[in-house]
Amino acid sequence: MTLNNIGDLNSMHVDVLTELGNIGTGNAVTSLATLVGKEISINVPRVRILDFNESVQFIGGAENIVTGVLIRLIEGIEGMILYIFEDKFVATVLKTFFGKEFKSALEINEMDKSALNEIGNIMAGAYARALSSMTGLKITLSTPSICVDMAGAILSVPAIEFASIGDKVLFIEDSFGIGNDMVNSNMILVPELDSLNLLFKKLGVGI
């Protein structure tokens, strides 16, 4: 049997994906800590299966301006990783790397975007390493691309691309402390169905 829709996932599948989310995020945040050169304390990530519309609400609503970094999974597991960085996260990054005060995500310059892109790249790389190590699959990532726009617009990218497999995504809500600041960063994982089936097969989980 195979999955025909992300909505077919049962509670056991969700548990497995939750654990993958935990492990992957743990690796990603460890990488982030090394990059920013600070200790990062992490709360247990919250993994949910959400409708696209629900996930838009989770990130402040369709008109909320957010910074999104999109990375495609192109080999091994195929699909998309979309990081949604809230303003506080962006502010912390820009302060840490460039000593600059953040005004608005719409005013960040090309070097700022490059830094955020690279953070998405490194975190996705850590996530892919965790998945690869657990499944034995070689997982290749695309170059990252960054966009500052309304949440509804940014989320429409995976929504349109994956319309055929259903309208649900894996939403991983991360909350961590950098220095004295608590920041949120959310990751949306949209795997292709064939990849999801392969993933469960590699993990020895029945469908």
Binding site: S31, L32, T34, L35, F97, E110, M111, S114, A115, N117, E118, N121, I122, A124, G125, A126, A128, R129, S132, S133, K138, I139, T140, L141, S142, T143
Partner: protein, 120 residues
């Protein structure tokens, strides 16, 4: 003569970080390329003593550039530096002739240790 190092990464931010680390430690002859294609073209004219090469880049990947530069010059010295550090990728790069493989993010001391060792 001062050693010339070519930094190849599509992220301007990463090139900036690497250049800063190298400059502070005495390596000031630094040139940059934003993808593997540019790196291959630059290699012919610049003949850098060392290349620090990202893998995931547009136009030409670091692995393809490694292969092409090694074909041009088997004595070229190339270190891979990538966010993807899965074992199969590291093995592939080393088999193609990379001298080392650093997984991002890295501590400055780590990259300096490797650069110093290769260029000494």
């Amino acid at each position: 003569m001062e050693k010339k190092i070519l930094l190849v990464d599509d992220a301007a931010f990463m090139r900036m970080m690497l250049k800063d680390t190298l400059n502070k430690n005495g390596y000031t002859n630094i040139i940059e390329a934003a993808d593997g294609e540019i790196a291959c073209n630059m290699y012919k004219d610049e003949k850098p003593d060392l290349i620090i090469m990202d893998i995931t880049m547009p136009n030409k990947s670091g692995i393809d550039a490694l292969r092409d530069i090694k074909a041009m010059d088997p004595n070229s010295k190339i270190i891979m530096c990538s966010a993807m550090g899965q074992e199969s990728m590291v093995v592939e790069a080393i088999k193609l002739g990379a001298l080392d493989f650093i997984v991002k993010p890295f501590k400055p001391e780590r990259i300096l240790q490797i650069v110093n060792k290769i260029l000494s």
